[in-house]
Amino acid sequence: MTHPPMPVTEDELHAYIDNELPAERRGDVEAWLAGHPDDAARVQSWRAMAELLHARYDSVADEAVPKRLEIEQLVRQPRPWIYGAMAASLLAFVAGGSVGWLAHGAAASPSTFQHFTGDALDAHRLYVVEVRHPVEVAGSERAHLQAWLSKRVGYEIKAPELDGTGLKLVGGRLLPGPEAPAAFFMYESGNGERYTLYTSRAATGTTQMRYASQDKDGALFWADKGVGYVLSGPTDKDRLNQVARQVYDQTEKVGG
C-alpha cells in the first residue's frame, strides 16, 4: 500500500462480512482490521453469530417438507384461510361461527393455548361486568344448566362446586368456541370477585396448566383428554391456581 487507507466505517465492516463491499476496498478493510483488534473482534463475533444461526436453523431446511406444504396439495385445495380463521376466532362469539383454527391438525402448540385462552378471556371480560344478565341460565337451575350445556358441547360437563374456595355458582351460558360450542360458567365470591370457567373441545390432548394475563385479568389454561378448560379471574396467581385445582379435581373424570 502506497498511502494510508481512509478510515474504515462501521457500515463498511458490516458490508465487508456480508460481501457487499466493493472489491477495491476489501484490502483496506483487511489492513484496518489487522491494526484495530477491537473491530477485528467485533467482526469475528458477527461471524460466530452467523454460525450460531446456521447451526440452529439449517436443520429446518433439511427436514422433509410437510405434506400440507406440498405444491400439489396447495394447488388442489382452495385457500385455507389460515389468517381469516385467526381473525374470525376473534369474532367467533359475536358472529356465532366456529372456524376451525385447529382443523389443520396442530398439536398442543402455543397458538392453541393462545387462541383458546384468548376466546375465554374475551368472554370473561364481556360477561363479568354484566350486572343484570351475566348468565343465560341461573345457578339455581344447576341440573337444567348442566344437562343443556352437556348436550351442546358434546361431553358431560358439571358445574364444579367451588364453595370450598368461597365461590358460588352464578350460572352459565353457551358460547361459540374455537372449534366447537363452549360452556361458560360464572362464579362469584362474597365480596363480588368473579371467576369464569370456559370449556370446549380442543384439538389438544392433555397439557400442563399455563397462565396468561391481560390487563387486570388472569387465566389458567389446561387440556384434559381433548377437552380444554380456561379458568379466568383476577390476576392473583395463587388464588387462581387454588380455584383451578378444585375445578380440575372435579372435571378430570368427565372429560373426553
Binding site: E10, D11, H14, A15, D18, E20, R42, S45, W46, M49, A50, L52, L53, H54, A55, R56, Y57, D58, V60, A61, D62, E63, V65, P66, R68, L69, I71, E72, L74, V75, R79, P80, I82, Y83, M86, A87, L90, H104, A106, A107, S109, P110, S111, F113, Q114, H115, T117, G118, L121, Q208, M209, R210, Y211, A212, S213, Q214, A219, F221, K237, N241
Partner: protein
C-alpha cells in the same frame, strides 16, 4: 408441473427455515409458509419475471407483520411454574440464539435473518422491506449489536416493540 411451480417448490426449505427463525414456533412458521405459497400460486399469472425468491420472502415478511398485528391484542402466555421443564414449547438446543432473536424488534430480526441466514443482499432486503438501503444497514447494525450483547450476557436496554 410448470417451471414457476418448480421454482417455488425449490424455495420451500429456505422459506421454512426463515419462517421458523422469524417466529420461533414450528406450527406458526409452517402456517406462514403455507399461506405464502397459496398466495404465490394464486398470483402465478401476475408474476412477470423478477426475482422469485425475493418476492416469496416479501410475501412471507408481510404476512408475518399482519399476523403480529392481529395477535397484538392476544394474551401473552407464560409458564405457571418456572421449573416446569417440558412446558416451554421451545427446543432446548440453540435456545440462546433463539432468545436473542426474540428480544429484537420485528424489522431488525427480519433484516438480520434475511442477510445472515438467508444470504440475501442489502438491495434485496431493502426491496422486501420497502425501505432505503441505508435503513437496512442501520437495522442490521443495531440487530447485530443487540444480539452480540445478549449472547455475551450484557443485556442492553432493548427497545420494546411498539
Amino acid at each position: 408441473m410448470s417451471a414457476f411451480r418448480d421454482s417455488v417448490e425449490s424455495l420451500i426449505p429456505s422459506l421454512r427455515r426463515y419462517a421458523r427463525a422469524l417466529t420461533r414456533d414450528a406450527d406458526i412458521a409452517d402456517d406462514l409458509v403455507q399461506d405464502t405459497l397459496v398466495r404465490a400460486l394464486r398470483s402465478e399469472k401476475l408474476f412477470i419475471g423478477g426475482d422469485l425468491r425475493s418476492w416469496l420472502y416479501t410475501i412471507l415478511t408481510n404476512l408475518n407483520r399482519n399476523r403480529r398485528r392481529s395477535l397484538a391484542r392476544r394474551p401473552h402466555m407464560t409458564e405457571l411454574f418456572d421449573n416446569n421443564p417440558d412446558a416451554s414449547g421451545t427446543e432446548a438446543e440453540g435456545r440462546d440464539i433463539a432468545r436473542a432473536l426474540a428480544a429484537l424488534v420485528e424489522d431488525q430480526r427480519s433484516v438480520l435473518l434475511l442477510v445472515m441466514l438467508e444470504g440475501l443482499s442489502y438491495r434485496e432486503v431493502a426491496e422486501i422491506q420497502s425501505v432505503p438501503i441505508g435503513t437496512v444497514m442501520s437495522r442490521l447494525a443495531r440487530a447485530r449489536a443487540h444480539v452480540k450483547a445478549y449472547l455475551e450476557g450484557t443485556r442492553p436496554a432493548l427497545r420494546s416493540v411498539k
